[in-house]
Subunit: 520 residues, 2 copies
């Protein structure tokens, strides 16, 4: 058994069953091992950002890591933007990055680079394998690192010779993975006292938000009159009818400031202190009121369900009923122009039970979230690191993780173009993904931000940097060229018919949704 086979067996034994790949020469022995070691589902991406984004979407839904297979420093570089999103969202992932044979690095040939240095800024854990004998243990440690609560990006660098040389020891068994840490009793007491003191309070959830988190936070809120909030870009969020209610912190800092203005006790549960996404002249970075007391019930690595349960008990809340989102499906329109609100209503009306919404709609997505609050119960995953080009790959991975659930990907036209290659993987794997592409022909968010950062007087040259018409991209033809069925919707009636058809059928499709320009 060579190193690559032992590595593959170790990954499988550790429960890693899917590998998203874009291999090169130095990874050929890993590829060859796929035919000798059965059990790993390998999914090819035509670009590495697809690979890492798909692994991210997979892990958020499967609740366990996938592996990626990447080629040297530049291949890893292409995957970094989505590793950034995964890292910021505490998403578990095991990257296998090939490198030149250990003895070949001395020649400093064209593809040579410092792979570990490329990996470090976007990985929680990095290790360079040095021998075939040690490789299985290295791989087991990589999986253990990925599983470290609440989830980590682990990158294992695999020199070609370590892959092809004989590994006599065989696969390794997993080292123990530490459980999520228990919150100290005094912290529970402090949070209970703060919430009971009568000042306006907000319980803010972040990261991987589960239905149980919402339920427990809702009970506590019912006991003390607190509000339940969720950070602007959680890693995942159960949403829609029947879920315990919560409000998301708005992206625009003025709105976030208003949202938090009356709050005097902020209890963080896997969330960080609310801060403005970007800096703006004349606006504060901190969003909580200066008189607001901050308390951390649970950091991301803590066992938050245990902490919320204990807090609920301390507040006599376990039997209380949380406020819940009702089921209220909007009426379908029989006429009307497209707007983000109208699209949101139609999606809310037609979204099937247990759907997964992958949100990279940017200016198109904000309203859809609010409109789906009363849709059938479903789940959102969001772009946690602000790096665009995540949506289509994440939808790809989510669909592989949950073949029985409909995936709806909200996607900006500008954002889609960073990793448009994902459509091909959706077609190859015949994934059940419907892409709602908001085509406004602009980097609309930047037109908004341009004004917000105090840049004045947009002239023709600045405008041309924020406008992605000229030429207009034909997303229908583009999707079809990559094997994905596509249609174009010009008004709400067309969008309704096309989205309804997509929800009733299976397989990948894209709806180019012709949105009005922001007109800024």
């Amino acid at each position: 058994m060579n190193g690559a086979e032992a590595l593959l067996r170790t990954l499988l034994d550790a429960g890693v069953e899917v590998c998203f790949t874009n291999p090169g020469t130095s990874e050929m022995h890993f590829v060859a091992a796929l035919d000798r070691v059965p059990g790993m589902r390998c999914v090819l991406g035509l670009f590495e950002g697809v690979v890492t984004g798909a692994a991210d979407g997979y892990a958020r839904i499967a609740r366990k890591p996938a592996a990626t297979l990447l080629h040297l420093g530049p291949g890893l570089g292409n995957g970094l933007a989505n590793l950034h999103n995964a890292r910021r969202g505490d998403v578990a992932m095991v990257n296998i990055v090939g490198d030149h044979a250990t003895y070949h690095l001395q020649y400093d040939t064209p593809l040579t680079s410092d792979v570990a240095a490329v990996a470090k800024p976007m990985s929680h854990w990095v290790h360079s394998a040095q021998s075939s004998g040690q490789l299985p243990a290295d791989a087991a440690r990589a999986v253990a690192a990925a599983l470290q609560p609440p989830g980590q990006v682990a990158t294992l660098i695999l020199p070609a010779d370590v892959s092809w040389e004989e590994c006599t020891g065989g696969p390794a068994t997993m080292p123990g993975v530490p459980a999520a840490r228990r919150v100290r009793e005094d912290v529970i007491g402090q949070c209970a006292a703060a919430l009971a003191c009568g000042e306006p309070a907000l319980i803010l959830l972040g990261g991987h938000v589960s239905e149980q988190d919402l339920e427990l936070a809702g009970r506590i809120a019912a006991a003390c009159g607190a509000r339940v909030g969720v950070e602007t870009f959680p890693t995942r969020l159960p949403w829609g009818a029947g879920r315990a209610a919560c409000e998301k912190i708005p992206y625009i800092p003025e709105f976030a400031l208003a949202h938090l203005e009356t709050v005097r006790r902020l209890v963080l549960v896997g969330a960080t202190e609310p801060a403005s996404f970007f800096a703006y002249p004349n606006l504060p970075g901190r969003l909580a009121h200066e008189e607001c007391e901050l308390l951390t019930l649970a950091e991301p690595h803590h066992d938050r369900i245990d902490a919320l349960q204990r807090l609920a008990e301390a507040m006599d809340a376990p039997a209380l009923e949380p406020a819940r989102n009702p089921l209220a499906l909007p009426a379908l329109p029989d006429a009307g122009a497209l707007s983000t609100a109208a699209v949101g209503d139609i999606i809310a009306a037609l979204l099937p039970e247990q759907a997964i919404v992958v949100d990279e709609g940017i200016t198109g997505g904000f309203e859809v979230f609010e409109r789906t609050r009363t849709a059938r119960a479903h789940e959102w995953i969001m772009q946690t690191g602000g790096s665009i080009g995540w949506g289509l790959p994440a939808a790809t991975g989510a669909a592989i993780a949950a073949p029985g659930r409909k995936v709806v990907c909200l996607e900006g036209d500008g954002s889609a173009m960073y990793t448009i290659q994902a459509l091909w993987t959706m077609a190859r794997e015949q994934l059940d993904v419907t892409v709602v592409l908001f085509a406004n022909r602009d980097y609309a968010i930047l037109q908004l931000e341009y004004q917000r950062v105090g840049a004045s007087g947009m002239g023709t040259r600045a405008r041309s940097m924020l406008h992605i018409g000229n030429p207009d991209i034909d997303f229908v033809a583009l999707a079809q060229s990559l094997g994905v069925a596509a249609t174009r919707a010009h008004d709400t009636v067309e969008f309704t018919a096309q989205f309804a058809e997509a929800m009733a059928a299976r397989g990948p499709r894209l709806i180019e949704t012709m949105m009005p320009a922001l007109g800024l």
Copy 2:
């Protein structure tokens, strides 16, 4: 004048006239400055790999750096693969990478990352600007670093507040750029003695190869009977009829070993010692014969023309006539199946004078190079770092650098998909680029490498990772969807007609050239 305006003025004063951009919020003041400071041509890319690859292609042809404008760590990450190619090719480039405002980093908001750490592995020079007052001097130093012979990747990190705050000092003037270093006299003497000793010798050129380099090397070769070679992937290479003749070191190491087998004196001129691109079991990494003596006439940072002139004088060669490539245009076919040789002949027959060939044809490109040896005089630029996804962006930049010259981009179908977004920029800027896309539906080079690294018995799962059909990509529809005219050629007659039409017209177009599979 704010920091961004002073930065822009400094770049313009230093001769940087083109900026390839993919901006985000933190770069909005730079974008705003474009309308207040005239003179910078800004070219938008829909993906950062397009931006950095275009800056690379531009600099190789313009012989001076362009700037890029990128958004934070993830945006820079997306550009890294082509920065790697530029770094390995000693290509001058000034990257301006926005970051959060200096005082905002403390909040560790979602887009925060260590931008300098992302930049370092693929940059020769990195600096984080800290104040608007110092920014113009920082920018001047960045340009000077880029111009450091033979060319460097310089990355200047620009926090948003440094961009928007007032800069009272105004633009800075350039610090002196060191000239290329002069080679010591004793080195000239050693090389002259080695070449005159009667042993079989090869003068090996690398990096930025000029017509004058070839001419001088050819004269020296004529004086001593040496061969003139060029490394496998030079940064640029004048080619075709009338150029002093040279032979490229083959990519496949067995062929390279045979090529170098008889050589006993190897004189390096801006080239490194020949080494196998990848490691292969049972093949050496060093390609020169063990009895071959290596001499370095000029390192990349040396003034190689001066060194070659002095060497020519030392060998009484200045008046000699080098061997030259003759003009011999292949006959156009009137029937026949497509092959890389047939496509090469047709390109060689029709390539106009002074054309620029951008080579990322991979298995498709090898033969075209040899066939164009006797075509009309033209120039090649090659993928210097082995990181694919360089060709379409580099062709974009080359066309902007040389609006009067036809650019022909040889592109593999697999490689094209890494940065396919470049087609949109070609359409927007109406660049005179003809893309010859070799569609064999495979990562054909990997099928070759799979066998070469000793991976045996390709099963269906390995095969599916190296095959990019299922679904077949419709490159004609894909190009058209991005605004580029496109046709498909199934045989040599169709290819001849389509390529001839492309050479006769101006503007971007793509020919999907239906190649047979390698059949491995």
